[in-house]
Assembly symmetry: C2
Homo-oligomer: 201 residues x 2
Amino acid sequence: MNDPAALIRVRANPRKRDAEATRAAILAAAKTQFALLGYDCTALRDIAREAGADVALVKRYFGGKEALFLEALKASFGSDGLRDWDRANFAHEMATMLADSPHADEARTHRFQFLLRAATSPTTAPLLNLLIQDRFLGPIRDWLGGADAEARARVFAASYIGFLVERLIRGEALLGREREVFINRVAAIFATLMSERDAPI
Amino acid sequence: MNDPAALIRVRANPRKRDAEATRAAILAAAKTQFALLGYDCTALRDIAREAGADVALVKRYFGGKEALFLEALKASFGSDGLRDWDRANFAHEMATMLADSPHADEARTHRFQFLLRAATSPTTAPLLNLLIQDRFLGPIRDWLGGADAEARARVFAASYIGFLVERLIRGEALLGREREVFINRVAAIFATLMSERDAPI
DNA sequence: GAGTCAAGTCAATGCTCGTTGACATGAGCG
DNA sequence: CGCTCATGTCAACGAGCATTGACTTGACTC
């Protein structure tokens, strides 16, 4: 963003006339910008410049700002993949990741930022209810399984969101004993939620 | 917002010329609008209309949009008051509140929305780091006390944020067994974090 | 009641934005 | 080569925004 090198690269090395490549470049730039600035603060002109294309092409290829946003949103959520996690180590690995810097986990941070910005913008928030239900709460519920999966999934999702927000605000990795304690406590929360047994009080 | 009755009321019952009252009305309207729409989507014109005042008065009394925002932000955070909670029942009461509808807890929801919107807007996010540290993480750390209060406060704050976000997205109260399970699980998380003993795994 | 100054109003300015349609260009085909 | 049409460029429009300074109005003092 505002990267003069990028501009020079674009100018010096223009794409051959290729509609598909241009469309893809615009979509990629849109994913970045929307995640970084949110819907309302992102200008189509910036996306176009970032993609080395003209604003008019955004309209031609996507129809408009809102349509571009929706496509970028859907493209950013190709099933997060709780499936792939090893259940035995999940709680500890997840807690460790949450203790580390968000920069160490670019892809996830990026997607989460996109979702968070979209959920807190009054313009785009209404578009999100279904998506969150379908691609977030639903998969977590199925992955947890067992008794009261719905309620446990809610607590799980809420905790997860909170930890991600905290990591985003914190901006850097935790260190030393604070890191250890953080990881233990967070892992304990996830582990308890994965268990069907009701929580001990 | 967009309340014709309010407009009529304002027109029919104009304030007597009173700088202080006008200033207060603008500030109150700003708190509402910024919480509802976030900094970027809020127009000074709307704030002024809501307050029954003219846009130019915003500049006269506050200096500009950003200054007004900062004043509204500070005015919205007069020490949340963890102090006042009864420690014995805290976890369960807090969990119950989080299971209920956000509309049942107007004031807190309102303030939290303000903070969340402010934290996710690229314009205002930089202004928040210090405020969050001072008025959120700090008080929680002091309230928790004991060993590793810093790390526990982080987990506590993150969980709390997550539950508030979840409640905000959910929009309505939980019912029946789902509500019971939710409350138990959430209360268990808070209770564990309040305890100095390291979490059981 | 005339004068004064704070309080409130108004219109204009300059900016950014999404959108749009007219125009230029180049690659591929006959 | 010359035609053609997809591809890319450009300038302009209209709306909405914060800001600004000149203007009007009303309450209070003498």
